[in-house]
């Protein structure tokens, strides 16, 4: 049986200010196709976590395609849920920036089983500790 490597993708920069925070999401999503480059039985299991300023720019109702001609971060988050990623949002940081928990999107209409998980930082810390590699975006 091949190794299942757990990875933590930690997004700590706000969406749209730079490219890095978005690349954190898209790199995590790419676990869906990594099997073509791995041996039989090998797996990559990512957890995508948003902390600090990384919780900014995730709300639903984004018009990035209309305004900028680019895919919104909301769409990327929905795609992450659709491919069964575990997505953690830091509860304390949402409160710090006054972002209501019900302003965040889900992908239920797309048929996703997963939902965003708004969790205390201690849960994110646990995911970090359980991961072989941690990558900050």
């Amino acid at each position: 049986m091949g190794e299942n490597v757990k990875l933590a993708f930690i997004v700590q920069k706000p969406q749209y200010k730079g490219e890095t925070s978005r690349l954190g999401i898209t790199h995590a999503i790419s676990y869906q196709t990594v099997e073509i480059l791995l041996e039989d039985g090998e797996l990559v299991t990512p957890t995508l976590c948003f902390v600090g300023e990384g919780v900014l720019g995730l709300q639903k109702g984004q018009k990035a395609m209309d305004m900028y001609g680019v895919t919104s971060s909301e769409t990327h988050i929905k795609n992450a849920l659709l491919v069964d990623l575990d997505v953690f949002i830091c509860k304390e940081d949402l409160a710090k920036y006054g972002i209501p928990e019900d302003s965040l999107p889900d992908a239920e209409e797309m048929g996703a089983d997963k939902k965003l998980q708004i969790v205390p930082y201690s849960e994110i810390q646990k995911a970090i500790e359980e991961s072989k590699h941690v990558m900050f975006f």
Partner: protein
């Protein structure tokens, strides 16, 4: 000997973190470690060939070519690269082109991963 994979996201010109990534890769490869480098974001602009090394600016081509000769695997994110107007025919030879799963596959087999974030 171990395997080190470096995810490099910053642009070639404008800061020294890109320069640091290449120097670290060189030291690790010289010590005999297996080294992989993944370029994403603005770092992908550095795979353009025929770079002119002006002394006021960092340069990538000379160092990338040397790393490739040492057996370092270097791959650029195809989407990030073509979005910047660079085609394979304009790129440094032997740099691989692939998608983000290349990076995750290398990470899977690595003893250490260094993620050097971009702008």
């Amino acid at each position: 000997m171990g395997t080190l994979t470096i995810g490099c996201f910053p642009g070639l010109v404008g800061n020294m973190t890109y320069d640091f990534a290449l120097k670290l890769a060189d030291v690790a490869a010289t010590k005999g470690h297996k080294v992989n480098i993944w370029f994403s974001g603005n770092a992908t602009g550095s795979v353009k060939n025929h770079q002119k090394h002006l002394k006021d600016y960092s340069t990538g081509e000379k160092y990338l070519t040397a790393l490739l000769a040492k057996g370092v695997e270097i791959c650029t994110c195809e989407a990030c690269t073509v979005a910047r107007g660079i085609q394979k025919t304009d790129a440094i030879e032997k740099v691989q082109w692939n998608a983000m799963h290349w990076y995750l596959a290398k990470v899977h087999k690595s003893d250490r991963v260094l993620q050097i974030g971009g702008e």
